[in-house]
């Protein structure tokens, strides 16, 4: 008993010392420079930041309690709830970093205590720095990217999630005119319980899914067909056709979308002009709710097919020829070859791309916003038109209507959907890419 505690004496003591006071364990291990450095850093940080951190956390919990008032004609600024929320978040990140430093300090003391227990020398300051540099090189490489991802992607995501649990919305809860409060799940409750919100949400969701599926499938098959046609052995000037058909892919998408917006304009668009000159009645391309949806899918076909065609052409050239010859020998018909050979092989090769396209189309804001702007109007919808998808609805709620909490609630539902989708996708991929992840 005595022996075992004796053998573990230094590591336990050092760890406890460091847990009580940052840097103390290092001093105990006779790493004086490191210990002092840790102590100074920890004390400087703690005493400088402690009041700010306290304020930040308090702000995060209360979201401010001094409303802006007008006293005798003068505006007396109150708390700005949203800024307090952000300060709170940043504080939280810093506290987590400090906690990480604290944990590392204990771990380091224990590690060096272990060395002493085993009767080995404890590395000096310069030696430790050198070792850390070698071991942590990959982390050093990842540091800038991590910071970027943290502040540009993760922080906004967390902030966004938090907003959904507040009442941050026009007209009554816009800082710094008035305060914002935590309201729990009430926003979600409203979304599903209030008739108009529910109608809007489900209506848009259904169209969004239909749009994503229809656009992905239509582009897939038109791309495959076009590739098959261009690669048909009897077709001449293959290079010419391929160049022509790839063109829409090379033109910047927003330009094509805007051009189509003008071309298909109901009253002065050139396309309807031609149709009228041909003696037919004009088509309500963008003004009829159903027709507008069809138009969106057609316009998407126009500029998305070329990419798939180029991709499929590549896939088709790698198709094993002997399989087709074997099928011919067995008396397979053309359609049999297509459905039993070409389609499965192409699908297997392009499945990841299809999933990416689906995810992209699901949130294809540019197309919807620039082509139709969500119009034509839908009388039953809150802040949305007939062709709006979830992301453009969120955009409108945020930038035009200041319905921040509802926008966040809807985007959380989208987050969940996307996460489930990508996890499932990742699982599926992992089975084929096992060796890469180890």
């Amino acid at each position: 008993m005595d022996v075992t505690t004796g053998a573990r004496r230094h590591r336990t003591k050092a760890a406890i010392f460091s847990a009580v006071f940052i840097g103390l364990g290092q001093l105990y291990n006779k790493q004086y420079t490191k210990g002092l450095l840790y102590m100074i850093m920890a004390q400087l940080f703690f005493w400088n930041y402690y009041p700010i951190a306290y304020q930040g956390i308090r702000g995060l919990i209360t979201l401010g309690d001094v409303p802006t008032k007008i006293v005798a004609g003068n505006v007396i600024k109150g708390d700005h709830s949203i800024f307090m929320l952000i300060h709170g978040l940043i504080t939280l990140v810093l506290i987590l970093l400090f906690a990480g430093f604290y944990a590392m300090n204990i771990y380091d003391a224990k590690k060096n205590g272990e060395l002493r227990d085993e009767g080995r020398p404890v590395p000096g300051f310069i030696e430790s720095v050198r070792r850390a540099k070698l071991r942590n090189f990959p982390y050093l490489l990842l540091l800038p990217a991590t910071c970027f991802v943290l502040f540009v992607t993760v922080m906004p995501l967390v902030f966004n999630v938090l907003i959904a649990f507040t009442n941050y919305s026009a007209p009554n809860h816009i800082p710094d005119r008035s305060l914002v409060d935590w309201v729990g799940f009430r926003t979600f409750y409203d979304l599903f319980a209030q008739e108009s919100w529910r109608t809007t949400f489900f209506g848009i969701s259904v169209w969004n899914v239909i749009w994503a599926v229809a656009s992905t499938l239509s582009v897939f098959f038109s791309g495959l067909l076009l590739a098959l046609m261009v690669n048909h052995p009897k077709i001449k000037f293959k290079k010419f056709w391929r160049t022509i058909f790839i063109l829409p892919w090379a033109v910047p998408q927003f330009i094509s979308i805007l051009v189509f917006r003008v071309l298909l304009n109901g009253s002065f668009g050139p396309v309807n002009d031609i149709i009228i000159k041909l003696g037919l009645s004009p088509v309500p391309w963008l003004s009829d709710p159903t027709m507008a949806k069809v138009t969106i899918i057609i316009v998407n076909l126009w500029f998305s097919t070329p990419f798939l065609m180029a991709l499929m052409s590549g896939v088709l050239t790698t198709m094993p020829r002997d399989l087709y010859e074997a099928a011919s020998v067995d008396g397979a018909t053309g359609s049999q070859k297509f459905f039993k050979l070409t389609l499965p092989l192409v699908l297997a090769a392009t499945a990841p791309i299809l999933i990416m396209q689906f995810a992209f189309n699901f949130n294809n804001f540019n197309l919807i916003y620039m082509l139709t702007d969500g119009s034509p109007n839908h009388p039953d919808y809150y802040y949305a038109g007939s062709t709006d998808i979830l992301i453009s609805w969120i955009f409108k709620m945020t930038l035009n209507q200041s319905q921040f909490n509802m926008a966040s609630a809807v985007s959380i539902i989208m987050f969940v959907f996307i996460t489930v989708f990508s996890l499932w996708n990742y699982r599926r991929m992992k089975t084929t890419q096992e060796e890469d992840m180890v």
Binding site: I82, I86, F137, Y139, L141, L142, A145, F148, V149, F151, V152, T153, P156, L157, F159, N160, L226, M229, H232, K234, I235, W241, F245, L247, P248, A250, V251, P252, F254, I255, L258, V259, V262, L263, F268, P270, W302, F307, A310, G314, P352, I353, M356, A359, N363, N366, Y369, M370, I391, T398, L399, A407, S408, S411, F421, S422, Y426, Q433, D436, M437
Partner: protein, 277 residues
């Protein structure tokens, strides 16, 4: 019989091609035609104007902020390309060549983040930039673009790094090279296709993207091309369509050539990324 059918198929294909040719080319020719058409309205515009004029181009450059938008976009594009490529290369190198704690979780995180378009948290970005005084600055936009490109580019770049045989570096290490030296002298030069893909993509994004600039850049003199052109079309008076057409041609021409030229890199880059994840 079978030969007849075959011929019919070929004729059918040519007919389809003819239709596609018209639908593909028509919008493109229409824009060019309109931009060269005298007069300001669409009603009088014909596909092939009798007396082509460059008045709209002159008008575009003299009377709108087009040149300014163009410089803005180029600045953002170059800064974004440099910053993104550096970030992505460092990240991909770490993931490809080192085995460390949290590596798998890191890769997984990137994969999931890639699925979230940056603009999903529009409102958060808006408020965060406002807080950090980066709203309505190009720097703010560049930082957001660069942050977004990491999750997208890293997998492509890592996929490419993985195909470079390790024996090359091991030889270099034996000769006393450091990690940084092998990265710059061996891995990067061998990964030109992947680097081109990432750099090109980040260069082109500011030309194509609309939603992020619309959130970040508020004043007219800071806008990018996409915003400026959208505003020309969005206000439904049809007088500015001809100017828009001129602008559209000026923007589309160089990018179209760029895309056609780098076709292979761009299409295969996406496939390579998808293969690996």
């Amino acid at each position: 019989m079978s030969k007849l059918l075959n011929n019919l198929v070929v004729i059918g294909i040519y007919m389809v091609f003819a239709v596609l040719l018209i639908t593909t080319i028509y919008p493109l020719i229409w824009v060019v035609g309109t931009s060269l058409n005298p007069g300001n309205t669409l009603m009088v515009s014909t596909m092939f104007p009798d007396q082509p004029t460059i008045a709209h181009y002159v008008d575009l450059i003299r009377n709108t902020d087009f040149v300014l938008w163009f410089t803005n976009t180029i600045t953002i594009a170059i800064a974004n390309a440099v910053l993104s490529t550096a970030l992505v290369a460092a990240t991909a190198y770490a993931f490809s060549r080192f085995r460390f704690k949290g590596r798998q979780q890191g890769l997984m995180t990137l994969l999931i983040l890639q699925m979230f378009p940056g603009f999903l948290s529009i409102m958060a970005i808006f408020v965060l930039l406002l807080q950090t005084k980066l709203l309505d600055t190009h720097l703010g936009l560049i930082l957001i673009y660069a942050g977004g490109s990491i999750s997208m580019g890293t997998w492509v770049m890592k996929g490419h790094f993985d195909t470079i045989p390790k024996s090359l570096e091991e030889a270099a290490y034996i000769d006393g090279a450091s990690h940084t030296e092998t990265l710059f002298k061996i891995i990067l030069p061998l990964s030109l296709p992947a680097i081109t893909f990432v750099a090109l993509n980040s260069f082109i994004t500011p030309f194509m993207d609309f939603i992020l600039p619309q959130i970040v850049l508020r004043s007219s003199e800071k806008m990018t091309l996409a915003q400026g052109l959208y505003n020309m079309v969005a206000n439904e008076t049809n007088s500015s369509f001809t100017t828009f057409a001129a602008g559209a041609v000026l923007v589309a021409l160089p990018i179209t050539f760029l895309y056609m030229y780098f076709q292979k890199y761009l299409i295969h880059g996406i496939t390579a990324g998808a293969d690996k994840g």
